[in-house]
């Protein structure tokens, strides 16, 4: 039996610099909303219980798990997802290019969460050591790479960003 008048509300927020208004159910996670409500499927769901980090996005600059935040809580905030990292012409940013250069991804499913965690972490700790980076990534699980190339890519990108 189908029912179209489910509880829900319209929310407005900024994602990757663009304003959006869309309907969400109260219980939709931010990740659900980005993926289904806005069609931004780059943010992935790996566990929905706050361990794997695949759903990590930036909300008002902070790396958060999209699966543990309600969409309604993100109303009025500025969200950045993986779709917001490349420039307007689609050119990969320094971190993304370093991942390509250093084979920092295999299946690519965890990659969006990892890139967002690293993006926020780089801003907060530009002088991080390798050990710091590994600890910062402890909330992001990758089952393909064994992490070495991810860490290498991150440090290479930061060296380049620091050099500028």
């Amino acid at each position: 039996m189908s029912d179209d008048s489910r509880p829900g509300r319209e929310i407005s927020l900024t994602v990757n610099g663009e304003g959006y208004s869309a309907r969400t159910e109260d219980r939709f996670s931010l990740a659900d909303f980005l993926r289904q409500g806005l069609g931004l499927t780059g943010t992935h769901l790996g566990c929905e219980h706050g361990v794997c980090g695949a759903c990590t996005v930036l909300v008002d600059g902070h790396a958060v798990r999209g699966c543990l935040m309600l969409a309604v809580q993100a109303a009025g905030t500025e969200v950045v997802t993986i779709e917001g990292l490349a420039d307007a012409d689609g050119n990969l940013n320094t971190l993304q290019q370093a991942f390509m250069e250093h084979h920092g991804l295999q299946c690519g499913f965890c990659t969006p969460g990892i890139l967002m965690t690293l993006t926020a972490y780089r801003r907060d700790c530009p002088d991080a050591t390798e050990a710091d980076v590994r600890q910062a990534l402890s909330g992001n699980i990758c089952r393909c790479t064994g992490y070495e190339t991810i860490v290498r890519a991150a440090l290479a990108a930061w060296r380049e960003m620091g050099a500028r």
Binding site: R6, L40, H49, M100, C107, R143, T145
Partner: protein
């Protein structure tokens, strides 16, 4: 001649730009108009009869469109089970799953009903409201317990819990033991969980009523297996069932199976006339995606006075789980992998495959080999201890020497042919690994650490792995009218970068750039025959097919151009996307033009003897497996008070023959070792005595994080094989296979002062502390 611009180079991945931009298209990213979603009603009991299913309350839930049980599925499905694609006469009870359990559930999580709704949220609301009258039955919770006379029956209608029995061996084992200088026994209990790719499973199905054709997307390693299963279940012609693979977020083995959801979702699409989507959530993955789980080994080795093996015999009890979707392949692989790189004159292993009331077990990265290597390497260390030989030395005395390759290792394969290790230098692999690991200095370092109150240890793991499994993986190469070259193959990637690897091989053959190659994989509509990506086989099979088919296309390009220019083919060269007369300026024809010429344009007359269309297919069939090998050396520190293990250093010597893309191989090795670290120190799928799963979230089932996986020092050896045109061997599993053996040997070595012996895997901190206490009591 073909070039080597790409093969052998660390070409950057063609897959990356889209994935890095968040433009991957994984199964849950698929949205079709009018699509509906489902959730399954799953058994909370490991073993129960289904008394009755009441869906009345569920149907009232807002957003729910219907609830279906086995009886509601199309009549043709009633009483049918999923096709068993690896039959074997040794299987006494070839049981596979029904699409929805109709009468009896045999593992916790087995589905008995499906709720269809506007979205997943509503479907789950509905699933919660379905009332099932469960009648619990006794459950079998361990493979050894399954064999006890008083054990409950895993299947109500069976006489016992035996899925099958095997025996493998060669030589005269009794004679070997008769006058042996030493007889060494061991009992081992290796355990492995599951792969937990970051992306769970998922299926989308759409039925075209007009064409009577079914289109299925599934997060799989083998669309052809799924297609075969669907064709069998629905009795449909295979050209009416198309299975397409989206981007897949990791596989590691379990996504190579055909699952009940891949039957139910298409059935619903056909019944309801709307596209249907099911995405597995992580809890479902814990319950219903296959694992490897438990084996119990008892082994006895007969050894001479120098520590050389005379014979090895034993018994393996293997936990099959509740059903046999992959037959008894995995215990067979375990049994046949035990001898490894060592000379063993006589070998006999009896294998009992037991049913239990847990999710079925099927190959997970390594496919039963990690367990075989674990037991063999532990036996080697036991032999070393018994004879007072260093771990490296006892192995040295038993290696198959390089000058004996190709080596008939004694077993016969299922077709009666002998198992022959083709190429590889096993002693040299260990030698290089030990050198890289600073093995010779280790004793000194260990003593110094001990004086400091620190316990460090070193361990070795050697392996030989059959790769490049047949029957084949084909490739079709086609020059398109826009000048690009397309590869179609049944290879189905989940992160291994098949696109890039296959494009490299093709580009070299045709003298083009990898960027000019389109690769379409994992689609039965485009490639009707295939096996899929598993068992470290694709570079060998699909890669060789690409090489052969590309070479044929090259010949066609030359033949066509020779006719067009009225010259001999020898005076032509293929480069830069065109065919030109060597040396002559201006006399060239592009691939695009050639493709248009042969596309069927009216009025164009084909030259005599030239077949139309610039296309070729090849189905490279390997004559036998090709054997990769390697040696791992792990160095660890154990906190003897807490039991925490830290890996200090990890060395891999890896030989997969000729390497197509070194960067990708390193990635597979590093990633494989990470799984091995999980198997050795972290990953345990725990069930209680009623076979209920207890570790069902990532808070309980621990996988390695970035802080736990060291940078592996990888040394490559290349022993090319004559068994395929590329000289290549498989590389996807070698990082995992010996890792638990090496790490656990290192832990035991670190705890030698306490007299600890470790025969289990994983070894967790609590257990380490227990073993130390027991050692101290002794």
């Amino acid at each position: 001649m073909s070039t080597t611009a790409f093969v052998g180079q660390s070409v950057k991945r063609l897959e990356d730009p889209d994935l890095l931009r968040g433009r991957g298209r994984f199964i849950d990213d698929l949205r079709l108009p009018e699509m509906i979603e489902v959730a399954f009603v799953r058994s909370p009991f490991a073993h129960a009869l289904i008394g009755g299913i009441d869906v009345a309350e569920a149907l009232q839930v807002p957003g729910v469109l219907g609830v279906y049980t086995a009886a509601d599925l199309p009549a043709g499905m009633h009483g049918k089970r999923i096709l068993l694609q690896v039959p074997n006469p040794a299987i006494t009870h070839p049981l596979t799953q029904e699409p929805l359990a109709s009468r009896e559930v045999c593992f916790a999580g087995e589905a008995v009903a499906v709720v269809v709704a506007d979205n997943r949220h509503a479907a789950e609301d509905g699933a919660e409201r379905v009332v099932v009258d469960w009648q619990p039955l006794g459950a079998v919770a361990h493979c050894e317990g399954a064999l006890a006379p008083s054990a409950p029956l895993a299947h109500q209608d069976s006489g016992d819990n035996i899925a099958g029995r095997l025996a493998l061996g060669f030589g005269d084992v009794d004679a070997a033991f008769k006058d042996a200088a030493h007889v060494i026994e061991g009992r081992f209990t290796p355990h492995r969980g599951t792969g937990h790719p970051m992306e769970t499973r998922g299926v989308v199905a759409q039925y075209d009523h007009i064409g009577e054709a079914l289109r299925i997307w599934t997060s799989t390693q083998t669309p052809h297996n799924t297609q075969r299963g669907v064709v069998d279940m629905f009795d449909m012609p295979e050209d009416k069932v198309r299975v397409i693979t989206p981007d897949v977020g990791g596989g590691f083995g379990p996504k190579n199976q055909v699952y009940p959801e891949e039957m139910v979702v298409p059935a619903l699409a056909m019944m309801l006339g709307r596209p249907v989507k099911w995405i597995e959530d992580r809890r479902e993955h814990f319950l219903t995606t296959t694992q490897e789980r438990d084996q119990v080994w008892t082994l006895t080795a007969a050894v001479d006075g120098d520590g050389k093996l005379l014979g090895l015999k034993g018994l393996l009890i293997h936990d099959a789980g509740a059903y046999l979707p992959w037959g008894i392949i995995m215990p067979y692989i375990s049994a046949s992998t035990v001898p490894g790189p060592y000379v063993i004159p006589a070998y006999h292993l009896d294998v009992t495959v037991a049913f239990t009331n847990m999710v079925p077990t099927t190959p997970l990265r390594g496919a039963g080999r990690p367990q075989a290597v674990f037991v063999m390497e532990r036996m080697m260390d036991l032999i070393g201890h018994e004879l007072g030989l260093d771990a490296a030395e006892v192995r040295r005395r038993n290696f198959i020497p390089a000058d004996q390759m190709p080596y008939d290792m004694g077993l016969t394969y299922r077709d009666g042919a002998p198992v022959i290790y083709d190429t590889g230098d096993y002693p040299e692999a260990q030698r290089q690994a030990l050198a890289k690991a600073g093995y010779d200095d280790f004793a000194e370092r260990q003593q110094a650490a001990l004086a400091d109150g620190r316990y460090i240890g070193i361990g070795i793991g050697n392996y030989v792995e059959g790769t490049g499994l047949g029957p084949f993986e084909g490739a079709t190469i086609r020059v398109l009218s826009n000048g690009r070259v397309a590869i179609y193959s049944g290879a189905t990637p989940a992160g291994q970068a098949h696109h890039t690897t296959l494009a490299q091989i093709c580009a070299d053959e045709l003298g083009i750039d990898v960027a000019d190659v389109d690769v379409v994989l994992g689609d039965t509509g485009v490639m009707p025959r295939g096996a899929g990506t598993f068992a470290s086989r694709i570079t060998v099979t699909a890669g060789s097919s690409v090489r052969l088919a590309s070479a044929q296309v090259r010949q066609k390009l030359l033949a066509l151009s020779a006719a067009k220019f009225e010259v001999d083919a020898e005076s032509l060269e293929v480069a830069g996307g065109e065919v030109r007369i060597t040396g002559a300026q201006g006399d060239s024809v592009s691939f695009a033009e050639l493709a248009r010429m042969t596309s069927g344009m009216p009025g164009y007359v084909l030259p005599a003897g030239v077949a139309p269309d610039l296309e070729a297919s090849a189905y490279f069939t390997p004559p036998q497996a090709t054997y990769s090998n390697g040696s791992h050396v792990a160095e660890v520190e154990v906190d003897a008070e807490t039991g925490l293990v830290t890996i200090l250093n990890y060395v891999v010597v890896h030989d997969c023959g000729n390497v197509i893309n070194p960067m990708l191989v390193d990635g597979q090795v590093q990633g494989g070792v990470a799984h091995g670290i999980g198997n050795a120190l972290l990953e345990r799928m725990v069930y209680d005595e009623d076979a209920n799963p207890l570790t069902t979230t990532f808070a309980d089932y621990l996988m390695p994080t970035a802080e736990l996986v060291p940078d592996c020092h990888i040394v490559h050896m290349e022993s090319p094989t004559p068994l395929n045109p590329l000289g290549a061997k498989g590389a996807g599993e070698g990082g995992t296979i010996p890792a638990p053996a090496a790490i656990i040997a290192a832990v035991e070595n670190a705890l030698a002062p306490f007299g600890v012996g470790i025969t289990e895997c994983p070894i967790l901190p609590e257990r380490i502390v227990q073993l130390i206490a027991e050692g101290e009591d002794r």
